[in-house]
């Protein structure tokens, strides 16, 4: 009895995979058994089906017109499904009529000591895939238009680099940052390792380049409010925060902040320097526009002042300004939100020693920076004296799975070496000490750099952790162990610099939810594959770059930014995107309109028509994950080429 909906002329290929399959599974027995199975038109085996000659046999069979479905019994479909589907296209057969029966990973490899049973299992696996294949339909890919615009979230060195690479290829780019200026963390650094280049000197030309690029639209002082849509067609709502200054008029002349009577600690200066209530984060800010910090502004707090308004020659101050939502449409999104430092308040055993002279690495950078609050003069924030003995503690919060963060923050070994050298260059008669666990200096010229610190600048490296800090007079006493000599080391230091662990910047979790991308156990954004897809996320069209993905230094960040940009350009270079047709659909006859599938869909692909009381699936949004199918008790939600009848018949053949 032939059912017209079934494919009943199936060609089966069995791959030996050298000896991977053939040494365990009795290929001859398999072919003999399967050739008798209903609907199998012919069966062939070959040493390597994926090889050129193997594919020739495959294609010949496709062209013969004898068969309307193919099952390849070989390795996992994640490896060669694409290979055979492509071959079938070349041979003029619909690729979705090709199915893989995995008899390697799921059979020969895991049953290497029970050959008979493995053979039996291979036969069962193949029968079940033949059953599925019988009811396969020919499918065509869904094509969709792409918007040739890109949103880059985060305008540190990573986001800037992504935006520049994309914009220079002629693609319109929106570069967003929640701070008033682009530049990110790198703008705060004094010098960079291993060359001791001045950070600002290499960064600010890039910032200007970004600011002047015709294809880049800056959206600073803004945050992502909502993201909808899908690869090639994202709709992003952006909250433009109220700066209380008309940026179209503001030229950044700075008269306003000279007049502003309210002084507060500057976030850019890591709170050791000052700014006004109306301010730009730093003199080289791009865009060079001021914002009013309404938490500190006297007018907002007391209703009186408005000195800036009087001072502004351009009438740019606008106390009535409201934040607004701007909508943009983009084809791809790159997340480059960077890092924060782990809070030093979380390190209980050091708290006794905390004072103004115990700094984290970023604060120390500001102290070293020639544009910092001391103009690069290295003095103690507490009393302005030059620290003669200074202790650097590495791995603070890092590599401590029991109490803090399990991972290595990767840049601290290098920047601590840099800190010690910069210190020595400023205080030649001072003594720097470094407490370290191991020195991780893998990178071009990195090891040489650390050696230079030790040998040329007489930095004393002590292998061991610091147990506690406490204060004595105006000193910070550092009690640590030297694990090489087994002695306890006590140093009465003038200053202590903590190499705090790096962690993803605040708000990354909410952002990841809006973008429907994943974060790992440490809160960093997850890449699609750690080796082969390092800048993609599992959500198509969303990419990552920089420290949002994992701790990394500027060199790696810039490389990764380039990689992300090239993936974006690859995506947008297609006029149309092709979408896998293995999507779900709703059988209207069966749908009772309960709406449970709607809540299950992570891609917002399902809508409930309240009037018709039926669910509908947007096949462009559907990723074929199958969540709706398992939720639907009626079996109304089904997947193409994976219908209920198909998997029942697969199970039937197995039990």
């Amino acid at each position: 009895m032939k059912n017209p909906e079934h494919m009943n002329r199936i060609g089966v290929f069995v791959c030996h995979c050298g000896i991977n399959i053939a040494s365990i599974v009795d290929i001859e027995a398999v072919t003999k058994e399967i050739s008798k199975y209903p609907g199998v038109e012919f069966i062939k085996d070959y040493q390597y089906m994926c090889s050129e000659p193997g594919q020739m046999i495959f294609k010949e069979a496709c062209r013969s017109g004898q068969i309307d479905g193919i099952v390849v019994a070989s390795c996992s479909p994640t490896l060669h499904e694409t290979t055979f589907r492509r071959a079938s296209i070349e041979a003029g057969m619909n690729p979705y009529r090709v199915e893989i029966a995995n008899i390697r990973e799921q059979c020969s490899w895991v049953h290497h000591d029970e050959e008979e049973k493995a053979t039996e299992k291979a036969i069962d696996i193949m029968k079940s895939v033949i059953e599925r294949s019988r009811r396969n339909e020919s499918l065509t890919e869904v094509s969709l238009q792409t918007i040739k615009k890109v949103l880059v979230i985060g305008a540190g060195i990573s986001g800037m680099q992504v935006a520049l690479n994309i914009a220079n290829s002629g693609v319109e780019t929106f570069l967003l940052d929640r701070q008033p200026s682009i530049g990110g963390r790198m703008a705060q650094l004094s010098e960079t390792f291993p060359t001791l280049d001045c950070s600002q000197c290499i960064l600010t030309p890039r910032m200007v380049e970004v600011g002047q690029n015709k294809n880049i639209t800056l959206m600073t002082y803004s945050e992502v409010e909502e993201v909808s849509g899908y690869v090639g067609n994202f709709n992003v709502k952006i909250r433009r925060k109220a700066a209380y200054v008309d940026w179209d008029k503001c030229t950044g002349c700075g008269i306003c902040y000279q007049k502003c009577p309210k002084t507060v600690p500057s976030e850019f200066e890591q709170l050791i320097g000052k700014r006004k209530a109306i301010y730009t984060p730093f003199p080289q800010a791009v865009p060079n526009k001021v914002v009013i910090d309404n938490n500190n502004c006297l007018y907002f707090k007391t209703g009186k002042c408005r000195l800036c308004e009087k001072a502004c020659p351009l009438g740019a101050i606008d106390f009535e300004q409201k934040e607004r939502i701007e909508e943009i449409e983009v084809g791809a999104i790159v997340v480059a939100t960077g890092y924060d430092l782990y809070e030093k308040e979380k390190i209980e055993e050091y708290k006794m020693g905390y004072c103004e002279d115990v700094l984290d690495g970023l604060t120390f950078e500001r102290l070293l920076s020639s544009s910092g609050p001391t103009q690069g003069k290295l003095v103690r924030p507490s009393d302005g004296t030059v620290p003669k003995e200074i202790v650097f503690i590495q791995c603070v919060g890092s590599r401590d799975p029991d109490n803090h963060l399990p991972y290595c923050s990767r840049i601290c070994c290098m920047y601590t070496a840099k800190h010690t050298m910069l210190y020595k260059h400023r205080v030649p008669d001072g003594q720097p000490y470094v407490f370290y666990m191991d020195i991780r200096s893998g990178g071009k010229n990195y090891e040489e750099f650390v050696q230079r610190a030790i040998e040329e600048d007489n930095v004393l490296y002590i292998r061991g952790r610091v147990a506690r800090l406490y204060r004595e007079d105006d000193k910070v006493v550092v009690v640590g162990a030297d694990t090489l000599s087994g002695k306890t080391i006590v140093i009465r230091a003038d200053m202590v610099v903590l190499a705090m662990a790096m962690r993803p910047s605040g708000g990354i979790e909410e952002l990841s939810k809006k973008l429907k991308i994943q974060v790992d156990g440490n809160g960093f954004l997850s890449e699609a594959h750690p080796k082969l897809r390092p800048v993609e996320t599992l959500t198509q069209g969303v990419f990552v770059a920089g420290c949002a993905q994992a701790p990394k230094d500027i060199t790696d960040t810039v490389s990764q930014a380039g990689a992300a940009a090239s993936k974006v350009l690859e995506l947008l270079s297609n006029e149309k995107l092709l979408h896998d047709p293995i999507t779900s659909w709703i059988d209207e006859e069966l749908c009772a309109g309960c709406g449970q599938c709607v809540s299950q869909c992570s891609y917002n692909a399902i809508q409930l028509d309240e009037k018709k009381r039926k669910a509908f699936i947007n096949e462009i949004l559907c990723q074929g994950c199958g969540a709706c199918i398992v939720t639907c008790p009626s079996g109304a939600a089904q997947q193409k080429n994976f219908t209920i009848k198909q998997y029942y018949s697969m199970i039937e053949s197995l039990v």
Binding site: C594, Q600, G635, I644, Y648, S649
Partner: protein, 370 residues
């Protein structure tokens, strides 16, 4: 907070309900009421959708019999939202089933006013019919039954009622209360805004002391908890008699699929299949897949099952389905800290995701996980 409806004084609970229903229709508070009614010569009660106030005579929602779970009727009545207001008198298990159905959009509650009451439980329907045939005054029989329940004189009730833990209708728009209250007035709890609308111009008086009611409810609950079974050791033996008649599915208020996934036709089974299976397995039971059927039903309905026990009553083979579903579904519901029908705002466990849920399951899979 419970309150007395001062205007309604009647000689017994049944009269006060009837009075209230008549009032709702007369005052055009609602367009219709749905309530079980006695029939002069019939052996049971059946639901009537009444639009004329005079027709409320003969209403007997308290008759100790549940012929259907009235939530099933609500599915029919409100599948498409109506603009007519309907008041329905429901047992607590029916209220809870209706709320579950509202969540999955199979009942529209826009114009539905649920009136629940303290439920004394019911007889098995067939038993009730046998008894009632010999009774002269059926109304009196109902009243006697309630009296016995309220004065703790044990009446024989259906097994699934004997361990029911939700015998007050706290999630209905209005619930009528009589356990632990010695009042000739009709005492009600108003639980929703809609409930308020129903009684808005009736004079009420708050009942300040309901401690005896609480105590009594606690007592009944404790007693019933002891009867509840916690596990089933002989599931396969228990369902062995199943003839796959699907009665349990037909009467289940929560089975809402248009076409059951478990129909052999849906699975795409051909006749040859049975023979193939029999050869492969040496023998198969016919009708087959009864275990699959029951497990799937539990899997589909477990989180919403209100343990009304109507499936057990409908089973021609006397399989203790009420007990089976009760044991399984309580475990499923406990996993999600979910009580079906407790509140309209409580989302179905499958439609929500909470990071902390099912951690006990994770622990089993990842013994070293933090």
């Amino acid at each position: 907070m419970l309150q007395m409806l001062k205007g309604i004084k009647a000689k017994n609970h049944l009269e006060s309900i009837k009075y209230f229903l008549r009032y709702l229709l007369q005052e055009k508070r609602v367009d219709a009421v749905l309530v079980p009614k006695r029939h002069p010569n019939g052996r049971s009660v059946s639901h009537a959708l009444i639009t004329d106030p005079l027709n409320t005579e003969g209403s007997d929602p308290l008759a100790p019999v549940q012929t259907v779970n009235a939530a099933c009727i609500l599915k029919e009545l409100t599948k498409e939202p109506t603009d007519k207001k309907i008041a329905v008198v429901l047992r607590p298990c029916e209220v809870r089933a209706a709320i579950e159905l509202i969540k999955i959009k199979q009942v529209s509650d826009e114009n539905l006013y649920m009136i629940g009451y303290d439920c004394p439980g019911v007889y098995d329907a067939k038993e009730y019919m046998n008894i009632i045939e010999k009774e002269e005054d059926r109304e009196k029989f109902t009243l006697k039954y309630i009296e016995a329940f309220l004065s703790d004189k044990k009446e024989e009730i259906r097994e699934s009622c004997s361990y029911c833990m939700y015998f007050t209708a706290d999630s209905a728009d209005i619930n009528m209360a009589w356990i632990g209250l010695n009042s000739s007035d009709l005492v009600i709890g108003v639980n929703t805004e809609k409930g308020k609308k129903l009684i808005n111009d009736l004079e009420t008086e708050e009942i300040s002391d309901s401690s005896r009611r609480k105590e009594k409810i606690g007592m009944i609950s404790t007693g019933r908890k002891q009867i509840q079974k916690d596990r089933i050791d002989n599931f396969l033996d228990l369902i062995q008699p199943c003839i796959r008649c699907y009665n349990c599915r037909e009467v289940c208020p929560l089975c809402y699929c248009k076409e059951c996934l478990l129909e052999p036709e849906k699975m795409g089974y051909s006749s040859v299949r049975y023979m193939n299976r029999a050869i492969k397995k040496k023998q198969i039971k016919m009708p087959d897949d009864t275990v699959l059927y029951h497990l799937t039903k539990i899997n589909h309905m477990g989180y919403s099952c209100v343990s009304c026990g109507i499936c057990e009553q409908a089973c021609p083979m006397d399989i203790p389905l009420g007990m089976i579903y009760n044991v399984f579904s309580r475990k499923i519901q406990a996993l999600f800290d979910y009580v079906p029908g407790r509140s309209r705002d409580e989302e179905l466990p499958v439609t929500t995701f909470r990071e902390e849920e099912l951690s006990e399951v994770e622990d089993i899979q990842q013994p070293r996980g933090k």
